[in-house]
């Protein structure tokens, strides 16, 4: 298994990995074609974010009158921010907190649930274990987002909608996360090590939390981040489950803002600065955590 992550400078390592030819990679003329293709892609991906940063510095009249990529310096940014956080008695901050509760709480619980299940399926054979794993592999193909409406119908029947649990609980089991943890447990938690612990008299439970869970850490971090993003981005589930705006996550709150301000261009600046504020923290977390986040595990299962 390669240790490639999204952030580590794998190129540098690539130079030393194989028997490098006379002109090792990284030396010599710049290869312009891939460089330019990548820069075009980078501009495409970054440009909208750059534009929203610039647009958020403008007052409402400036938004429609000044050049799109020329920032304004007339205090528009701070008055927009103040307007955003003052809107409806500061409900935007509440939405931000809700998003963190849903994403951190959901991803943490989900990692525990899926990690435990993956370890059990990866390291033990028992009645029905093969059968259970087959169901999980099949369930990977289930359209999770589409299940939101049946989930709502059932919870509404039981009167359990409109609370934090209604948004968190349906998202805890991810068949793909269980699959990923099972594959990782099989390859990283060695039977010899478990056997040695067994001989030394460790209980099965102790082997799980002292050895298994630690060796599985890279997979668990990856599952946490995948689930965090999935829950943070989920729109349909909170959209159907919640109708009290104090429970909304950011995505739904911003959508509601757009609906309310719908035709009125006068409110665009609030939505624009709201978009910016909801991008920045997550982008920052991403940049900080990227060295721990093993995307190679996502495709790791298909190598065999």
């Amino acid at each position: 298994m390669t240790a490639a992550t999204t952030g580590t400078p794998t190129r540098a390592r690539a130079g030393t990995a194989g028997a490098a030819g006379p002109a090792g990679p990284g030396k010599g003329r710049t290869n312009w074609i891939p460089t330019v293709i990548l820069l075009v892609g980078a501009v495409y991906c970054v440009l909208p974010v750059v534009w929203i940063v610039i647009a958020s510095t403008k007052t409402n009249s400036e938004l429609f009158s000044t050049a799109p990529f020329a920032p304004a310096f007339h205090g528009g940014f701070f008055s927009n921010l103040r307007a955003l956080f003052a809107y409806d008695h500061g409900i935007f901050a509440r939405w931000a907190v809700n998003s963190v509760i849903y994403a951190v709480g959901g991803a943490t619980l989900s990692t525990i649930v899926c990690g435990c299940a993956g370890y059990a399926l990866g390291k033990y054979r028992f009645l029905g274990s093969v059968w259970l794993f087959r169901i999980i592999v099949a369930a990977v193909l289930l359209p999770q987002i589409m299940l939101a409406i049946p989930q709502f119908l059932l919870l509404a029947k039981l009167g359990l909608t409109n609370n934090y649990a209604a948004v968190i609980l349906p998202q805890l089991v991810s068949p793909f996360a269980i699959y990923l943890c099972k594959i990782y447990a099989e390859s990283s938690v060695s039977d010899e090590m478990l056997e040695a612990a067994r001989v030394d008299g460790a209980s099965e439970w102790r082997m799980f939390y002292a050895i298994g869970s630690r060796l599985m850490m890279p997979a668990l971090v990856t599952v946490f981040l995948l689930q965090f993003i999935g829950i943070w981005n989920n729109f349909l589930l909170p959209f159907v489950m919640l109708n009290r705006d104090r429970l909304f996550p950011l995505t739904e709150g911003l959508y509601g803002l757009l609906i309310i301000t719908g035709g009125q261009a006068a409110q665009y600046t609030i939505v624009i600065v709201g978009v910016l504020v909801s991008i920045v923290p997550l982008a920052a977390v991403f940049l900080l955590l990227q060295r721990y986040w093993r995307v190679d595990l996502v495709s790791g299962g298909v190598k065999a």
């Binding site: 435990c116 259970l132 119908l153 349909l236 190598k303």
Partner: protein, 296 residues
């Protein structure tokens, strides 16, 4: 195997219990309940408008017949497929191209480009759509929205697909790139010694070896595309080009929440899940076959 069986333990069952219970409660039970609802209907009760004590009665296949017979249901599927036909190949094509470029020799600024292309993955779909919505809107557009109509009857499909592609491109690129890094380097060096150009190595050696990974990302992109909801729903308030039944999931939502007919909503929902799973399984099988052939 023998060693594992020596001691009787209930630990695996205990560890699996939460996942199994949650799966039963939030996947199996809602699915079953939706199937049940899809065969029922509301029967008007007494009172002047027939709204007193309405009762639920068995409807047979009525709700399914209504869904199948409704042209708008098929149109919504058609629109969703059109966005998928634009978006999925674009996502896979460009993310593969970028991954191959990242892996190319002597390419510069790769660290910056990789991060920049990955950045949109941190932006939720709804927020990305708001962002692009302002980019498209003639009043605020920095990309010529007053010249090009991004919400025209044809362009709107590209406009929606573009938002979706923008959001997932980077993630797919990184998945493909990491699997590319895991390939044996000696192969490329041998090909190079034999006089193969960089382009030939990329197309003839790297691409076929990536087949299993490309199958995986294509299937996941397809599952995502068939569940299209966030982007058109968020664009709807700013344009008339998108109706409240523009894609199937919006249609199900409208049935269940706007028209308050949960029975029809349940039928359409169940139908949609079956169609999606069928399409995904078929695509998966086809792609696997293709991948196996290209490996040979």
């Amino acid at each position: 195997m023998k060693a594992r069986r020596r001691r009787l333990t209930l630990l695996p069952q205990v560890l699996l219990l939460p996942a199994v219970v949650l799966f039963l409660l939030f996947t199996v039970a809602p699915g079953g309940y939706a199937i049940y609802l899809s065969f029922m209907k509301q029967k008007a009760g007494g009172g002047l408008f027939g709204t007193d004590n309405p009762t639920t009665v068995f409807a047979g296949l009525e709700n399914y017949r209504a869904a199948f017979g409704d042209a708008e249901f098929w149109h919504s599927i058609g629109r969703m497929l059109l966005v998928a036909v634009i978006g999925v190949p674009a996502t896979i094509g460009f993310s593969t191209l970028f991954a191959l470029c990242l892996d190319a020799k002597r390419a510069r600024l790769v660290g910056f480009s990789r991060l920049a292309i990955f950045l949109p993955y941190a932006v939720p779909g709804v927020v990305a759509t708001l962002l692009w919505g302002f980019m498209y809107l003639p009043a605020t557009s920095p990309i010529g929205g007053n010249v090009v109509n991004y919400f025209g009857s044809h362009t709107v499909f590209f406009a929606v697909a573009n938002v979706a592609v923008w959001g997932v491109l980077g993630f797919n690129m990184v998945v493909i790139y990491t699997s590319l890094r895991g390939l044996p380097r000696e192969l490329f060096q041998a090909a190079e010694l034999d006089g193969a150009s960089e382009l030939q190595i990329a197309l003839r050696i790297k691409l076929p070896l990536l087949a299993p990974t490309l199958t995986l990302v294509t299937v996941f992109s397809l599952i995502g595309a068939l569940q299209l909801f966030n982007e058109p729903t968020t664009l709807k308030p700013v344009t008339n080009a998108i109706s409240s039944t523009w894609v199937p999931l919006m249609r199900v939502y409208t049935d269940a929440f706007v028209d308050n007919d949960i029975y029809r909503g349940a039928a359409a929902s169940f139908l949609l899940i079956v169609l999606t799973v069928t399409a995904t399984v078929a695509a998966n099988m086809m792609l696997r076959l293709l991948a196996r052939r290209s490996e040979r």
